[in-house]
């Protein structure tokens, strides 16, 4: 099998897995049971297909076997939460020739599944992981490494979340009216969390696309397709595309880290930037401003350097001010301070950093990078080095650590 075919097969499986699982979970209102049933069906397929040949409609075969597995569990327990579910399954069970073609395409309930995964009743820390596992079928071990969690801990949290979905009877119907924006925001945040983890994990010698970046872009495109009137979903997609467009420029040919301002913009993916800008325009036409659109607009302003040769810092400061008004995160505060410094007022930039709550900066590397940079701009070399040392100590990626060491501690250029 060629690589292309393998990739296409994997993509089809991913698409199919999420569709099948979300449909079963939506019908059954029990994610864990649906997963078990789907796993049972896949196992049965591995056992039967080699003997009987691949059925005319593998999809229908799997769904029928999965439904039968669900029904058996229900009969065994002699209760379900929803009598309508049993009636529906009984009805299906009456004519369940596994080799019969599926009469109707499986409806797409993946967005509903995402809403459930990012439900406010669930621990926010599991939202992204649950989504990656259920909608895309990613392996828990793979997810655990990305989330910097012991695999056993993550597995435990996922199991607990699924039990809660069942026991609390979380609704699988899509949220409506005033509830929708907040629920959608939680879905988008979970997708962005997955993207950020993938982004941080990109290493200089890694030329294969990072799994999580890919998966997050896929999920964002899915949300945009399934919820086409959400400006924030488009904003998130634009934001991630703008970051992704710079992947090739983040490390030089020797594998050394290159910060944004020093990147060779000839190595940015212009087509991706144009694509992102179009999403951003479509989003702004909907007139629903939000944090992801503002963050995307900030990244779009940085991307302007590829076309105009300059970075519009004053405009970026204004965008950060809007962002802080609706989403005053520590990341936005630090970004605002740096932009203020770059726009010509590093003293004011430092004053903005000083306003940040000190309890939140002990582990927050970007704060110390920003502080070192602004202190260097104001000519305070000694204090800048001290801040840089904190940043170096908090850095996760060896390439970034080496860059900071080389830049601020010229004497100790990293190996």
């Amino acid at each position: 099998m060629t690589d292309d075919v393998a990739i296409a097969a994997a993509a089809a499986a991913r698409e199919a897995y999420g569709r099948r699982l979300s449909w079963l979970a939506w019908q059954w209102r029990d994610l864990e049971a649906a997963e078990d049933a789907l796993a049972t069906a896949l196992l049965a397929a591995l056992e039967h297909w080699p003997k009987t040949g691949i059925p005319a409609s593998p999809e229908a075969w799997l769904m029928t076997v999965a439904k039968r597995a669900l029904l058996q569990v229900a009969r065994h327990r002699r209760l379900t939460r929803d009598p309508a579910v049993t009636a529906m399954l009984d009805d299906e069970f009456a004519h369940d020739d596994p080799d019969a073609p599926l009469l109707q395409p499986i409806p797409d309930h993946r967005l509903q599944l995402m809403f459930v995964c990012a439900h406010p009743a669930l621990d926010a820390r599991v939202h992204a992981a649950l989504m990656l596992q259920t909608v895309l079928g990613l392996d828990a071990r793979q997810i655990a490494s990305a989330f910097l969690l012991p695999p056993a801990t993550l597995a435990q949290r996922l199991v607990r979340a699924k039990k809660r979905i069942r026991d609390a009877g979380l609704r699988f119907e899509p949220p409506e009216g005033p509830e929708l924006p907040a629920r959608l925001q939680a879905v988008l945040e979970a997708i962005y969390a997955a993207f950020s983890l993938g982004w941080d994990a990109v290493a200089p010698d890694d030329h294969t696309p990072s799994d999580l970046i890919d998966e997050a872009l896929y999920l964002a495109k899915l949300v945009v397709a399934l919820q086409p009137d959400s400006a924030e979903a488009m904003g998130l997609l634009a934001l991630m595309l703008l970051c992704e467009s710079r992947r090739g420029a983040r490390f030089d040919r020797d594998g050394a880290f290159v910060p944004l301002h020093a990147q060779d913009c000839a190595r940015w993916d212009r087509a991706m930037i144009v694509d992102a800008n179009q999403w951003l325009w479509r989003a702004s036409a909907l007139r629903q401003p939000g944090p992801f659109q503002l963050e995307a607009a900030i990244q779009a302003a940085h991307a302007q350097r590829a076309f105009t040769g300059t970075v519009p810092w004053a405009g970026i400061v204004t965008l950060y001010r809007h962002l802080l008004r609706i989403a005053p995160t520590i990341g936005a505060q630090v970004g605002h301070a740096v932009a203020t410094g770059e726009a010509g007022d590093p003293v004011q930039g430092l004053a903005l950093l000083d306003r940040i709550d000190t309890a939140s900066i002990d582990r927050y590397q970007p704060y110390w990078v920003a502080r070192a940079h602004l202190l260097a701009l104001t000519g305070e070399a000694g204090a800048s080095r001290v801040a840089a040392t904190r940043a170096i100590g908090l850095t996760l990626q060896p390439a970034v650590r080496a860059y900071l060491q080389g830049h601020y501690h010229a004497a100790d250029r990293a190996p």
Binding site: L148, L149, P150, T153, D362, R363, T389, R390, A391, I392, G393, L394, T395, L396, P398, R401, A402, Q405, H409, A411, D412, R413, A414, P415
Partner: protein, 121 residues
């Protein structure tokens, strides 16, 4: 919770310590890392260790004492140092462990510290 972060380094890491061309960067990264743990106010204790060849191993087998130079086990990674930190949960310990310069080539193991045994009645 108290955790010991156990830094295991490779022969290459230990060589970086000695080479004048790389020693500054090696120690710079470690002192920045340990410094950030101390500044976060979570450090209880810790030490760096001299390389494995500076060690001596002793054991008793069949009543006979055996002393040998260097480490007992022939392994790719050797203990280079450790710290004990006080953090709320394993998640936090893992985050600090992942920042360690040892992770780039070697590894960092996280072990919960045993609580003191209950006092006898």
């Amino acid at each position: 919770m108290q955790y010991m972060l156990i830094y295991k380094e490779t022969a290459e890491d230990f060589a970086l310590r000695e080479d004048p061309a790389t020693a500054d960067a090696y120690w710079g990264a470690w002192s920045a890392y340990i410094g950030s743990i101390a500044q976060a106010g979570i450090m209880l204790s810790g030490n760096g260790l001299q390389p494995p060849h500076a060690g001596t191993t002793v054991r008793l087998r069949d009543g006979k004492r055996q002393v040998q130079d260097g480490p007992f086990a022939d392994s790719k990674e050797h203990l280079g140092g450790y710290v004990i930190i006080e953090v709320p949960a394993l998640d936090d310990a893992l985050e600090w462990a992942a920042r360690s310069p040892a992770c780039a080539r070697g590894s960092t193991e996280i072990r919960p510290v045993l609580p003191p045994p209950p006092a006898r009645a």
